[in-house]
């Protein structure tokens, strides 16, 4: 599974680092470091992290239902907030 985090949106809530610590780690106070290639056994943690991100900054493929952004999040992304 591949993932990318929109670090413009990321505000360092660290929900992802809590839910999928093998994929996401905090580096310093609020920087996020992540491995963009995720092993199969991390699927559940990744799915939870994608769902839990308060600013919906994580895009992953290979997760059922997570690869397609909703119309709303796509519109938001196009405005770059």
């Amino acid at each position: 599974m591949r993932l990318v985090v929109d670090l413009n949106k990321c505000q360092g809530y660290a929900q992802c680092a809590f839910l999928a610590p093998d994929v996401f780690t905090m580096h310093g106070e609020e920087s996020l470091v992540y491995n963009p290639r995720v092993a199969e056994d991390q699927r559940q943690g990744l799915a939870r992290a994608v769902a839990a991100c308060p600013v919906q900054a994580i895009t992953a493929d290979g997760l059922d239902g997570a690869a397609e952004p909703t119309a709303e999040s796509a519109r938001e992304a196009s405005h770059g907030s």
Partner: protein
């Protein structure tokens, strides 16, 4: 009639995207998401499918991600013909064809230019070719540099303290590798954030054990008898032994392939209107040629209609989406690309983010926190208006300032904020270098001026 044409284009058109990176991929996805059912061709000079670059100078160098595995997730199927590993070499606007390095030609009805930028190489070719001299831009660059850092060099020398150079230095220190950074300006990050904030970045480097040399230039890379780099000579006549040199002097626009095409393309990128339509060399907007991402330079109403070229991740995404939308839309349905510039960096454990256009600011105020603590928000002002804000480890406040910038909030900043210190109540100089002096590493290239500025005199050519 235009509506008919666009309708046909939507269903049977041929769209070619030159540049298979972040902007190219997101444009392709947007075309399909908005109902484009014609043929789509993706052309990329690297043999890889679109991958993400920010991790290459961060997680990859720290060994936390593999340089081979930063491919971007797809938001949807794009059903494209991929021409990877072959560069575009020319554009024929009349015949509507893209020429490729392998001699092939691809016909289009509409084309999107998303060829981005590349690392500026060390100018002396023989020295650049020494073993141990690197740049960092592509996946292959990252693979090669990571291998070398892993083998335990005695000292790494980084030329240029922009964002990439500083991130590389940060990664080296984290791995316990001795590192020297040389910068022409008086501090790191000066091109992007100015000298006042640069001074904070300098402290950060020094405290983390970087041997930081400012106000110097590199005069020579010295090799040994078997062609490996062994030392770096500086303009202050010091000589520093190093077995790895990373050249981090900003980037060059990938526009050479457009020479002779008749497009308004050159060393400052490809100029386009707010709807991502490229200008030809006469300054007339084209109908079928669009541009997005790092290579594009477009006017922004919020910043005096200056042409901005933004090497920002979020800009590549947003501009690609707008360009794709406009490529298959008629007149009034088209929308302008009016993205708020924003970028981030992570170095020495500090999260640096910015919104707006800092290099436009001549003064700044620290509206929250303090520079001494390296946890703050600084607001940049220009002509009585807020034009940018930068945060060090204070991300969550940035959106508030973004709204202020969008509204053209006044500067000096008068509103009360949490954690406002006495030092932040008076504007100080932002301390950007004179823009006419060569520098590198700004993430925003400002060009052109508002007519009221009268900083340029236009002299027409004589026939």
């Amino acid at each position: 009639m235009e509506a008919d044409h666009v309708d046909r284009l939507r269903h049977e058109g041929r769209i070619v995207i030159v540049g298979a990176s972040l902007a190219g991929l997101r444009a392709a996805e947007t075309l399909r998401a908005e109902g484009f059912t014609g043929s789509l061709t993706m052309i990329g000079d690297e043999p890889y499918e679109p991958y993400d670059r920010p991790p290459l100078s961060k997680a990859v160098l720290l060994g936390k991600a593999s340089p081979h595995h930063t491919e971007l997730p797809h938001r949807r199927e794009i059903d494209a013909t991929w021409r990877l590993g072959v560069a575009a070499t020319g554009l024929d606007l009349t015949a509507k064809r893209v020429r490729l390095a392998d001699g092939d030609e691809v016909e289009y009805d509409r084309v999107l230019i998303a060829t981005g930028v590349r690392a500026r190489p060390w100018p002396k070719e023989a020295e650049a070719g020494l073993d141990g001299v690197f740049v960092l831009r592509t996946r292959d660059d990252a693979t090669a540099l990571y291998q070398r850092l892993k083998s335990g060099p005695r000292r790494v020398f980084v030329i240029g303290a922009g964002f990439a150079g500083s991130e590389i230095a940060s990664a080296c220190r984290e791995m316990g590798i001795a590192v020297t950074v040389a910068e022409r300006a008086g501090a790191p990050l000066v091109g992007a954030l100015g000298g006042t904030i640069g001074a904070v970045a300098a402290e950060l480097q020094l405290e983390n054990g970087v041997d930081l040399r400012t106000r110097v230039t590199v005069t020579e890379l010295e090799g040994d008898s078997v062609g490996r780099v062994r030392a770096v000579h500086l303009s202050d006549e010091s000589v520093i032994e190093a077995d790895v040199v990373v050249v981090s002097l900003g980037s060059l626009y990938n526009t050479e392939w457009l020479n002779g095409s008749g497009l308004g393309a050159g060393p400052r990128g490809v100029a386009c209107d707010a709807g991502c339509r490229a200008f030809d060399f006469r300054g007339i907007v084209t109908d079928d040629v669009f541009v997005a991402g790092d290579v594009a330079r477009s006017p922004h109403p919020l910043f005096g209609y200056q042409f901005l070229a933004l090497e920002h991740w979020g800009n590549a995404v947003a501009q690609a989406e707008t360009a794709a939308h406009n490529m298959i839309s008629a007149g009034a349905e088209r929308r302008p690309h009016m993205w708020m510039p924003a970028f981030w960096s992570s170095q020495f454990g500090v999260n640096i983010k910015s919104v707006g256009v800092p290099p436009m600011g001549d003064q700044l105020m620290v509206t929250q926190g303090s520079l001494a603590e390296r946890r703050f928000i600084a607001v940049y002002g220009h002509r009585g208006r807020m034009v940018a804000a930068v945060s060090f480890d204070n991300t969550r406040w940035l959106e508030f300032y973004q709204r202020q910038i969008e509204r053209g909030a006044p500067f000096p900043v008068e509103f009360p904020t949490m954690d406002r210190r006495p030092e932040g109540r008076k504007p100080v100089a932002a301390d950007f270098p004179d823009p006419s002096l060569p520098t590198h590493g700004p993430t925003v290239t400002l060009s052109g001026f508002s007519p009221t500025d009268r900083q340029l005199v236009f002299t027409p050519a004589h026939h």
